[in-house]
Symmetry: C2
Subunit: 348 residues, 2 copies
């Protein structure tokens, strides 16, 4: 079913291509499969509410570094990041299943810490842990979480529903998790060189917390419901706004114009980015793992969110399919790329 | 939530203890969570049919050895073994979600082979691949499959429903997958020592196939439905009959008497076991990965299965909770243990 040369490196397919490539030959035949691969969660028809389901892996050395990640926080984050995929569909999470693989380096107490964190997250998000699997692994730890949720059929929000003119909104603030990671990596390097130095994380509590213990924005889903807003498209910000713009734009066949001055960034993020000689806006647009929600709403819904502290309109959808434009304070305009951005043209 | 000493090795908890231990403090609060951890699949109430869901990991070097496992077969087996958990609840599988972690040793072509096998299995079992995740891993390959299925509420079969007097039935034949593994391991050793020798697998095609490309017994679920039999308890044979007897007995609070002469074993399994100086009955009771179904039925259902080639009554449930007794041809009786068995007493 696949036709190519003898050996292709997986990187050649690019960041977003592998799963699409691997699954493009699969055809759905079950009438209950409403939406398969290609959004934050699959949508299945079981009864009057629809079932949402999503699965995600976290792998030691790739997604987390145990030298500075407490296992309790890791457990919490594994659940939160999975539950976030259900929120990203405008659904409410209901259950999770957790598979873990463990090398013999982990004691029972270590695994228990992981589950203490998972339990905290399950309680916080009111989800039930209903299944799982534990295996040995030859090296390191991996965690796979499958999250389930439910949603009224007419409220499910896909990536594909945005139309030109819709307002682009983000919840919370951006870039904090990325700068928290930079701080943790810096303290790790310092510790490797001078093991007697204690890390100074206190002045970075907000951004380190954003990295180590992010929250799924279930409260945003509840708020949208109370405000009687069904977004036209939505996803969670796991890879960074720049990347998510691409996903929303591609699925909806629109472009986006966003405004640098509107991007919500916490002062601690700004300050830390500056001290690292990084542009805070680049950090906010490209940093991942904030697990905030990015969504589009119809213009007529603007009055409903106006004054909501936690929502920021950062731009709007355009008819320029595939064009993602950042308008800076100084009146310049740049093309937003999934990694960094390249100069596009002035005032174009 | 956990209280113990500073470092406990995970092995101390035993094979079946870890997941129970880790999840015992989790409480279900969602009304849709009908059955959580502790059976082959969780049972969720969504609409008039119930949803079954199960998740399982396969890890390179632990669950499979790529020196003799074609990736296509591995993909097939990953889906089949997960779908088998849905069959084990007397349900019909509907969807799967697949997460994989890959080191850079794998080319795109290699991963494609894996998915070709998965696609074959999805087609065979009429399940839709509706989601997934691909990650890099630092070493080796892991596959996590979450399987979903549906069942009429009154037909869902748990491990816990057997009562004394119920007949114990297995589908297909036993021990083949284990002996297939022994052949593959032997040929691997030969190949390591003499790389010019070609493996001779042809005379072992049946048992090697049982190991490399097992089938989920969805056809058994369909047959039971046609025969109008709802088993009183059921599970799939992934760890071996001896281990599954323990699970069924423990969940149902019964014991089991089984008869050595009744154990269905393929001639190729018998012959190979004998050539390895292994007792074929021990192999059949303790070998895992056959993915056959083991279930109990009411005595009055016996006439319905009599003459069904694929079903063998191997014993019955007893009131001796926790006693699993093997009666041999010679009139002896042994205690069946999850690994091997120990002499119990003659005619006790």
């Amino acid at each position: 079913m696949f036709e190519n040369a003898d050996r292709t490196e997986i990187e050649q397919l690019g960041e977003f291509g592998l799963i699409d490539h691997l699954t493009k030959h699969f055809t759905n035949t079950q009438s209950s499969s409403l939406k398969g691969v290609g959004d934050d969660a699959a949508v299945l028809k079981f009864g009057t509410q629809h079932l949402l389901i999503s699965t995600d892996s976290m792998i030691e050395g790739v997604h987390f570094d145990l030298t500075y990640t407490p296992l309790k926080h890791l457990g919490y984050k594994a659940i939160a990041s999975s539950v976030s995929d259900i929120a990203a569909m405008n659904g409410m999470p209901t259950q999770v299943l957790v598979s873990i693989g463990l090398s013999n380096r982990f004691s029972l107490e270590a695994v228990e810490e992981l589950y203490v964190g998972m339990k905290l997250a399950c309680e916080k998000y009111k989800v039930d842990l209903v299944g799982g699997d534990t295996s040995s692994s030859r090296s390191g730890l991996f965690i796979n979480v499958t999250a389930l949720g439910k949603a009224e059929p007419k409220k499910i929000t896909y990536r594909s529903g945005a139309t030109a003119g819709d307002l682009l909104v983000v919840s919370g603030d951006l870039g904090g998790a990325y700068m928290g990671l930079q701080i943790l990596e810096r303290e790790k390097r310092v510790f490797m060189e001078h093991s007697d130095m204690q890390p100074d994380l206190e002045s970075f509590d907000y951004i380190v917390g954003r990295q180590l213990k992010p929250e799924a924005r279930i409260d945003v889903i509840e708020a949208l419901n109370e405000l009687d807003i069904v977004p036209t498209s939505m996803m969670d910000i796991s890879d960074g706004v720049a990347s998510e713009l691409y996903h929303l734009g591609n699925a909806s066949q629109v472009g986006f114009d966003i405004y640098e001055t509107k991007i919500p960034i916490d002062p601690q993020t700004v300050q830390t980015a500056t001290s690292f000689n990084l542009n805070p806006s680049i950090v906010a647009l490209n940093g991942g793992e904030d697990y905030e929600l990015i969504f589009t709403i119809k213009q007529e819904d603007y009055d409903k969110i106006k004054g909501q502290m936690d929502f920021t309109v950062i731009g709007h959808a355009t008819e320029s399919v595939g064009k993602y434009k950042l308008n800076t304070e100084s009146g310049n305009s740049f093309d937003v790329k999934a990694q960094g951005w390249q100069h596009f043209s002035q005032e174009n």
